[in-house]
Amino acid sequence: MWGYIARRVLATVPVVAIVALVVFSILHVAPGDPAALIAGDQATPEQIAAIRGKLHLDLPIYKQFALWLGNALTGDLGTSIFSNRPVATLFLQRLEPTVALAVTTTIVAVVLAVPAGVLAAWRAGSLVDRTVMGTAVLGFAFPVFVVGYILIYLFAMKLRLLPIQGYRPIGEGFWPCLQHLVLPSLALGLSFMALIARITRASVLEVLGQDHIRTARAKGLPTSRLLFHHALPNAAVPIVTIIGVGVALLLGGVVVTESVFAIPGVGRLVVDAILARDYPVIQAVLLIFSLTYVVVNLIVDLIYVAIDPRISYRGGS
């Protein structure tokens, strides 16, 4: 088992290297002078030269990469061109709302979608099944911000149950914070829920067809125990996978959701940075988000070992 774990962890190193390389090269892949690109259309030659010096764009590419990577590994993510403050500070300042949103969304999505998927599998072919799956299919089709605006329209404007936009830090009270996160997590979580429900249904359906479930039923086990104690754990591997994969959806969707609901998180930071062409910020956030995804996938793979003892025998692939 430890061999599998070691190999799996080691396997992330080349992926991380590639991610760092890609994130770094995005700036340089475009035609033209990166400094001029950042400075904008109205910049004077002096401004362009200043930016070039600031971002060390006069060094050869590999030196720039080494410098950037080395700094990043020690926690120095560069300085924002726009606001002249260290990117790391900006990032940490905006971290709480984004993490709160991401955590709430994941919890809501899993809590709602997994039972829905199990139910749909248990009553496969019935109206319940078709409703759940129909909703799931719809959930994939709507862009996050459209769902967000529909929710705002229904619950905030018409029914006046929840606030329209904004964010209250946890420090100001747990309930206000949660209130402001309900609509955003539902909006962001809809496609996540659709994905989880679909995979859960397929996986549980497969397990329900197996002999040990028939035996348990014949033994007279109550349905809830059957479903949640016998079927679900065996169906867990694809579900856990999809939760890991869904984090990527989350990381991307956070950007748009924060825009719609005016949440001052990292997503908004990135969007503002992109519109202002603030490269150090863009590169840093992209790197951190990608690394988060890699780490989450690593954790998911390691959870497999805990859930499914067969995997460590087969070895990693």
Binding site: P14, V15, V16, A17, I18, V19, L21, V22, V23, I26, L27, V29, A30, L37, V137, L138, F140, A141, F142, P143, V144, F145, V146, Y149, I150, I152, Y153, M157, I164, A248, L249, L251, G252, G253, V255, V256, S259, V270, V271, I274, L275, R277, I282, V285, L286, F289, S290, Y293, V294, N297
Partner: protein, 274 residues
Amino acid sequence: MRLLARRHPAVAGGVAVLALVLIATLLAPWLIGHDPLFVDPLARLRPPSPQHWLGTDALGRDVWSRTVHGGRVSLVVGVAAAVIATGAGLLIGLVSGYSRIADALLMRVMDGLMSIPTILFAIALMAVVKASLATVVVAIAVVEVPRVVRLVRGVVLSVREQPYVEAAVVAGSGFATILGRHILPNTLAPVVVQATYICSAAILIESLLSFLGAGTPPEVASWGNIMAEGRTYFLVAPWIILAPGVVLALTVLAINLVGDGVRDMLDPRFAKRL
């Protein structure tokens, strides 16, 4: 068609909606009573009415005509991105599946690329180039390529081990023949299915990009752009966002259903039933 409707009602529904959307967008210039560019300040922000089926926006432009014209842009982006991503993915996937050395390198690169969240990747790419329809298409295609490569590579790897390929090699068939005659046809079915999903994903991504201001340039009215313009007026005129949004969702839904249907039809288990 009736057979399709009976066996797979959802797919038939999807095809019908898609056909409607396609016809509407293709016939757009002749279909609409209003010019989408016609600015009528006196009729700003009107709710849906018999003269303006989906209301008007901040400049008095008819939302229905803008939506229909925007559909052309969004569909073009979707199809173009799907075609480019599939083509590039096919090429890279074939190479990767066939050559072990290239495979080792390419798979690491693809894994890395897939680790970067799609929207962020697309936005970052759009930030380095001048915004235009072409760059949006390329940005989206680049972001979708790794998945196609993975898919194609998987098929190539499994087909390569088949006895008939071995027989072809022994019989002296050239590399190109084996690729073209044996491997490629097997990749086509899953690739076509994947292409439809890429098309719907591309339409979604384009709308997200435009919504954030990093997509098609403002003068090109795509669904995302129309909705982006409607942001400021959402509290007084929600139809500017909701109308194109719902149309977009229905189109994406239709494409997904068609993709599901094609996938089921191409599945050999169902082939006999047709």
